[in-house]
């Protein structure tokens, strides 16, 4: 895991000192809110519906136990005892006081964490596959590249005041767990015919008001060309991207309006200028960064304790069946800790839970933790024989929900319970759907199904790429929820299709239930997932189930 060098620490200390002075000047009246707002946003501080909100970056979703404990400390000392893991590998604190924020940032700096560029029209926190460095299907750990991009983009003078924000994701695996195609720019580690490692660069993906699937801009960028290539792409967009209309400012619109070929041509021209300015310092730094991400020395040995518990304990077995994923090392597994207990707020963990997860990671998981964009916490390296003990401790901490990838493992944005931009609530909808299907005891029968909920058109809840997407809107002063079906957040990414008219707040859970009932009747076998069924039968049967009265009228 990356550890700050003297430069990093000095940079962050200076930045925090500057922000502390800016906060003081705002409080004593020397800065107006108009002057202060861009400064606080650059440091992750929003003003939301009920309070300030501090968004802390968890670069590429990786944490060590001390960092997790620092997140717990912030929750306990300066907030209301919990934190909210977001859909972009950040954590948000919903109740900080303005004068406390500089102290919070200093506490974060002690463990190499910050809130820089978690807001504003800059390059945002670089996200990564949450199984990075552990997944069995990985070509190479993408986190060194992510860290290189983080360092290069932090305070990059050309990219501090862009037309709009810019989001980058990286992955090194065949299966896309990082929603690469929904990012402004994505880097996928690939091998060429000669077996050399390079990078496929995708561009122009994004959700929000105008959802677009990212396209391949370059199939293979050589390792030492990557940073200048990314700089060229962003530089081209930063000059050409529209600043007259914020809804048309993202690179997806620039790509759409100019065409991929034109963007590629302009990027190549720009690259010819930019490339010579990279004298190799970036590659020296990259080599240094790579050393920090060396895999731990995985222990050897059989899995008898795991096998015995799996046979004997049905609760453990259910958890193992849903919450474990294949690890690259023999005898090991990737364990996902669900932050989606039925009826709880998706992504919210208490300070006590964070500390317990940190302790478990230290005791059993080679001191590593990951945060997923799906708002769960991951122990990326666990020897299977330790899983029964881990599960027992998770149970005691109310963290052993066995629902990863199931209907209650819902992504939800904060919605109108917190967010100043929201047009409807999303958290209570997620809570009620999870509780309803828990009561029906249907969730394991339904199998793999991703529901994603956004409380406004900006789509922080990724509703467009949910198998079932829910979008909360304000229709004439009343909350109204539109449903989309058939979205896909993986390497076969797709934008969901709207079913038709939306549903009132008290109608949305029954509507989802009708969709699920229809799926259970339509599927050819228990193995056919919701998405497979939808792709086979199309929208019509689901529409009939959703809008029975309307269908009769037409008939």
């Amino acid at each position: 895991m990356y550890k700050y060098n003297d430069f990093d620490s000095a940079f962050l200390a200076e930045r925090n000192r500057q922000f502390r002075a800016q906060v003081e000047r705002r409080i004593d009246g020397a800065l107006t809110e108009d002057e202060f707002k861009p400064l606080r946003l650059m440091n992750g501080l929003y003003l939301q519906l009920h309070a300030y909100m501090l968004r802390v970056a968890i670069p590429y979703g990786t944490l060590n136990p001390d960092q997790m404990r620092a997140l717990a400390l912030l929750a306990q000392k300066w907030d209301k005892g919990y934190g909210h893991f977001t859909t972009r590998q950040n954590i948000q604190y919903n109740w900080p006081k303005l004068k406390d924020v500089p102290d919070m940032l200093d506490a974060l700096a002690e463990v190499n964490l910050h809130a820089i560029q978690t807001s504003g029209n800059t390059i945002r926190n670089v996200t990564a596959d949450h199984f990075a460095g552990a997944a069995a299907d990985e070509i190479e750990d993408p986190r060194p590249i992510a860290e290189l991009i983080r360092q290069w983009s932090t305070d990059h003078p050309e990219f501090q005041f862009m037309g709009r924000k810019f989001k980058i994701a990286v992955s090194g695996a065949a299966n896309d767990r990082a929603v690469l195609k929904a990012h402004d720019l994505a880097v996928k580690i690939v091998r060429n015919d000669a077996g050399e490692i390079g990078y496929q660069v995708l561009v122009g993906g994004g959700l929000g008001r105008t959802p677009m699937i990212g396209k391949v801009l370059n199939d293979y960028v050589a390792a030492d060309d990557l940073l200048p290539y990314i700089e060229s792409v962003i530089s081209v967009w930063n000059q050409l991207g529209r600043r007259d209309n914020k809804y048309k400012a993202r690179i997806k619109i620039t790509v759409h309006e100019l065409g991929l070929d034109k963007i590629r041509e302009l990027t190549e021209d720009r690259f010819a200028q930019v490339r010579p300015t990279f004298g190799g310092a970036d590659q020296a730094l990259f080599e240094d960064i790579k050393r920090h991400f060396a895999a731990p020395a995985f222990r050897e040995g059989g899995t008898e304790a795991y096998d015995a518990a799996y046979e004997a304990d049905p609760v453990f077995r259910a958890w193992a069946d849903t919450n474990l994923a294949a690890h690259k090392a023999p005898g090991h597994a990737i364990a996902t800790i669900s932050i989606k207990k039925h009826g709880a707020t998706p992504g919210d963990a208490t300070a006590e839970q964070m500390r317990e997860m940190a302790d478990i990671a230290e005791a059993y998981a080679y001191g590593e933790l990951r945060i997923s964009h799906e708002q769960n916490v991951i122990l990326p390296h666990v020897h299977k024989n330790d899983l029964p003990a881990i599960h027992a401790r998770l149970k005691a901490a109310d963290l052993a929900t066995a629902n990863i990838g199931l209907i209650s493992d819902i992504i939800a944005c904060p919605g109108m319970d917190y967010c100043a931009l929201a047009t409807a609530r999303s958290i209570p909808v997620a809570q009620e759907i999870a509780t309803r299907f828990e009561d029906l005891k249907l969730e394991h029968d339904v199998g793999h199904l991703q529901i994603k909920i956004s409380g406004c058109i900006n789509a922080c809840g990724h509703h467009h790429v949910g198998h079932i997407g829910i979008l909360g809107l304000d229709r004439a002063g009343v909350e109204n929820y539109q449903i989309t079906l058939g979205g896909d957040a993986t390497e076969t990414a797709a934008i969901g299709t709207r079913t038709g008219p939306g549903f009132a707040y008290d109608e949305i859970v029954p509507a989802i239930e009708r969709i699920i009932t229809a799926y259970l009747e339509l599927r050819e076998s228990e193995e056919e997932t919701f998405l497979q069924t939808y792709r086979r039968v199309g929208m019509e049967p689901f529409k009939v189930a959703l809008y029975p009265a309307a269908e009769k009228k037409v008939a």
Binding site: R26, I27, G29, T32, E33, L47, Q48, L49, H50, A51, Y52, K80, N94, W95, P96, K97, L98, K99, T345, D348, M416, D417, Y418, R425, I427, P428, Q431, D474, G477, V478, E479
Partner: protein
């Protein structure tokens, strides 16, 4: 034809705490919507908003929010303002927490 003016309150977030505040008839600030001034005249509303915006050391992002007269004072007409005066629905935090501690 311009839309008829509907009654308003002046609301903002407190600079230091970040919580929701409302302008009172006396020109001060309150945490309770019920204690806010309900303004029924459009010109008066604009003047009161300017007054709020001239207090940057107290109020951030002041605006006019629709409200209606209720038995206990002004009440929200839109669900967004209902959440702002109450707090989030997933925890009893925000103003409902303060109310519970009284």
């Amino acid at each position: 034809m311009p839309r008829a003016f509907t009654p308003k309150v002046v609301t903002a977030n407190d600079l230091l705490e970040g919580d929701v505040i409302y302008l009172t008839p006396a020109g001060g600030w309150t945490r309770e919507l019920s204690e806010a001034e309900l303004i029924t005249d459009e010109a008066e509303a604009q003047l009161r908003l300017l007054d709020a915006q001239s207090q940057p050391k107290i109020a951030v992002g002041a605006y006019l929010a629709d409200a209606k007269a209720g038995e206990q004072g002004p009440e929200p007409t839109h669900f967004r303002e209902e959440f702002r005066r109450t707090g989030p629905s997933n925890y009893r935090h925000g103003k409902q927490e303060a109310a519970a501690n009284v």
